[in-house]
């Protein structure tokens, strides 16, 4: 800041011209003492959410973008309400991950909202997906389920809620791209067994329980193989009614915090 101010206006060519007398040089040196003392003190860290949330990005990848391997999902760019709901679910036991629960245990609703807003607001380039390991027939089956669903089994298409581009929809439907295959399989399985829950009525549990194990593998393989588009923002809130009724944040959540 000091540097900018000194250099504002005209360029400084001659330092002696700026401090022509011995006294002014001495005064400047005296002025420097506290500045240098401050600089030599304990390091200051940026007063930003990004700095505060380095706790998240060790696992979720630089700035929350996730890697194209492993298990941890990307969180950057997902809809803010979706992320906020997941933070509440972890803290309040509707999703099960001991590490996540411990991290969030003593954080307020207000801070969780700030955290969700921070990651939702990020707009990051993504690495290309891993080449799919699944056979073409499985990928075709996955794509068909994602894009068309299966009316005979009352399975809606993923795109019906998660957006034609699968980047989710504001304010609370997540995008499905940029997620590792293991993570996708883990989530669908957790919904089938009740380990992962959402606010009632839990529409994803309803969908997941209609999927056969081969469906879960096919859908996850195909989704994990798709690149994240350059514009990964969630679609605007849909005016069409969703194929299923999904729960929203209750007005009083648990009444605990």
């Amino acid at each position: 800041m000091f540097k900018d101010r000194l250099h504002a206006g005209r360029p400084i060519k001659n330092r002696a011209a700026l401090f022509p007398t011995m006294r002014s040089r001495l005064l400047f040196a005296l002025f420097l003492v506290p500045v240098l003392a401050w600089a030599a003190g304990p390091p200051r860290v940026p007063d930003t959410l990004a700095q505060r949330l380095m706790a998240c990005t060790l696992c979720h990848g630089q700035e929350g973008r996730a890697t194209n391997a492993g298990y941890f999902p990307r969180i950057a760019g997902k809809p803010a309400d979706y992320l906020y709901h997941q933070l509440l679910h972890f803290r309040d036991g509707r999703r099960n991950n001991a590490g996540m629960s411990y991290l969030l245990d003593h954080l307020s609703d207000a801070y969780l909202r700030d955290i969700a807003g921070h990651f939702a607001g990020l707009d990051l380039p993504y690495p290309p997906p891993q080449p799919p390991a699944a056979p073409p027939a499985e990928l075709a089956r996955g794509e068909a389920l994602v894009r068309q669903g299966d009316a005979a089994r009352e399975l809606p298409a993923c795109t019906a809620c998660h957006g034609a581009a699968l980047t989710g929809a504001s304010p609370a439907v997540p995008g499905l791209l940029g997620l590792p295959r293991d993570y996708l399989i883990g989530q669908l399985g957790a919904w089938q067994t009740g380990l992962r829950q959402a606010f009632a009525p839990d529409c994803m549990a309803h969908v997941a329980k209609r999927l056969a194990p081969a469906d879960v593998a096919a859908v996850s393989s195909w989704l994990a193989a798709q690149p994240v588009p350059a514009d990964a923002h969630p679609a605007p809130p849909t005016r069409e009614p969703l194929p299923l009724k999904c729960g929203l944040l209750p007005q009083v959540s648990g009444g605990v915090r």
Partner: protein, 419 residues
């Protein structure tokens, strides 16, 4: 019959057994109290006072399951004797305290007996609530009665034999429990006495911050002790090298209890829960009183363990890991960053003789509690998934033996036990 030493010893032994049996029998003998007839109407002020005491005691922390209805019970507490499940305190007549008269509630807090007369496990800290005067008990009862009734049946405890028997509990009580109200010390100022009451009564600090014997009996003396699940260590409040605040200014002690952070120290683990749900909601004058009392707790250094130096290769690995993962926040000299990251040089959680909390912090990371006075704490990532046991041990050893820190090396086995 001839008198022999053997016979005399047998007689004494029999007599002792008889006395013990009598004492146990008298502990077990207790009557059920009748259903609450009609509760005396409570004033809003009384309910507010009770709510405040419930905050001071952080009753909710144990009596609420994760994500469950407040005070409806269901949280399971792992202890060395098995798991104890906290009960439903809401006024539901079938599953909660709906049929508890004030007298039954008072007897539970003062004597550790349930409404039907059976003995309660001291995970419910009646060893502390016994100090509460009748008026405070009535206020707390009024508050719990004002809660929405939640029908949620209590899950049974799963304690091992013999700890699951009432007789074992009776023996424990004979050894470790003395009912009695708080008696102020006339030689001390009123503020100290208020602090003594809060700390030893409703806030039950020494339920964790106290040495415990093999039977789980606490001596209430603020020494260090493992938490019941063994995952964290409640540091000694007598030892300024641990959590003793004798050299601290009163304002700093208040800030720690109110904001969760002070003097570049932060609360973590179970104490973060205490601050988040409990102490941050207490009035300034009460926090001051607690600070005055805690500051005056007599100093008694914890016994030192034999110093074990890390070997060169362990320390080299630790330093390498520190440079890769820790240095950006905690600094090249372990000096931390003001207002954000605690220093590690001279950090009491780092240098405690037992490395439990240091290792736990590396494994679990965490945030200081988000309090009204400190709403957006900086976080530390959990390294559980990234680092192996040997690496965590090396990193902990390096931190414990750098920048003037002089604490024993950590082994992979220490880490494995806590993972």
């Amino acid at each position: 019959m001839r008198f022999t030493p053997l016979r005399a010893a047998l007689a004494v032994l029999l007599l002792a057994c008889g006395v013990l049996a009598g004492a146990v029998w008298s502990e077990l003998r207790s009557e059920a109290l009748p259903d609450a007839a009609a509760w005396a109407p409570a004033t809003p002020e009384q309910v507010a006072r009770g709510a405040y005491l419930a905050r001071a005691g952080n009753c909710m922390a144990c009596h609420t399951a994760r994500g469950g209805a407040a005070y409806a019970g269901g949280r399971s507490i792992a202890t060395p004797f098995g798991a104890i499940v906290a009960g439903n305190l809401t006024p539901d007549p079938q599953t909660g305290l709906g049929r508890w008269s004030l007298e039954a509630f008072r007897r539970a807090l003062h004597e550790g007996r349930s409404r039907d007369g059976h003995l309660l496990y001291p995970a419910f800290p009646y060893t502390h609530t016994t100090l509460m005067p009748d008026a405070d008990v009535a206020d707390l009862h009024a508050y719990l009665r004002s809660l929405p009734a939640v029908q949620q049946a209590n899950r049974p405890h799963s304690l091992r034999f013999p700890y699951n028997t009432q007789s074992a509990l009776a023996v424990w009580r004979l050894m470790h429990f003395e009912p009695g109200r708080f008696q102020p010390d006339p030689a001390q100022p009123a503020e100290w006495n208020r602090g003594a009451y809060l700390v030893n009564g409703p806030a039950h600090c020494a339920a964790c911050h106290s040495e415990r014997n093999a039977l789980g009996g606490a001596n209430g003396s603020y020494g260090a002790s493992a938490m019941p699940d063994g995952r964290w260590l409640a540091p000694s409040l007598r030892d300024p090298q641990q959590a003793g605040v004798q050299p601290w200014a009163i304002d700093d002690i208040v800030a720690l209890l109110q904001q969760g952070t002070a003097k570049s120290a932060s609360v973590m683990g179970p104490m973060a829960e205490v601050v988040f749900h409990g102490t941050q909601h207490l009035r300034n004058e009460d926090l001051r009183a607690m600070a005055v009392y805690l500051q005056a707790v007599p100093v008694q250094p914890a016994p030192a363990l034999e110093f074990k130096a890390a070997d060169a290769s362990q320390k080299a690995l630790g330093e390498q890991l520190y440079q890769r993962h820790c240095v950006d926040c905690h600094g090249a000299q372990g000096q931390g960053a003001a207002g954000a990251y605690p220093p590690l040089a001279g950090n009491r959680a780092v240098t405690m003789a037992l490395p439990v909390n240091a290792v736990q912090a590396i494994l679990s990371g965490g945030f200081a509690p988000a309090t009204a006075g400190h709403p957006q704490p900086y976080g530390m990532p959990p390294f559980r998934t990234l680092l192996r046991d040997t690496e965590v041990a090396a990193l902990a050893s390096f931190i414990r033996q750098s920048w003037g820190n002089q604490a024993g090396a950590v082994s992979s086995l220490d880490v494995q036990r806590l993972r």
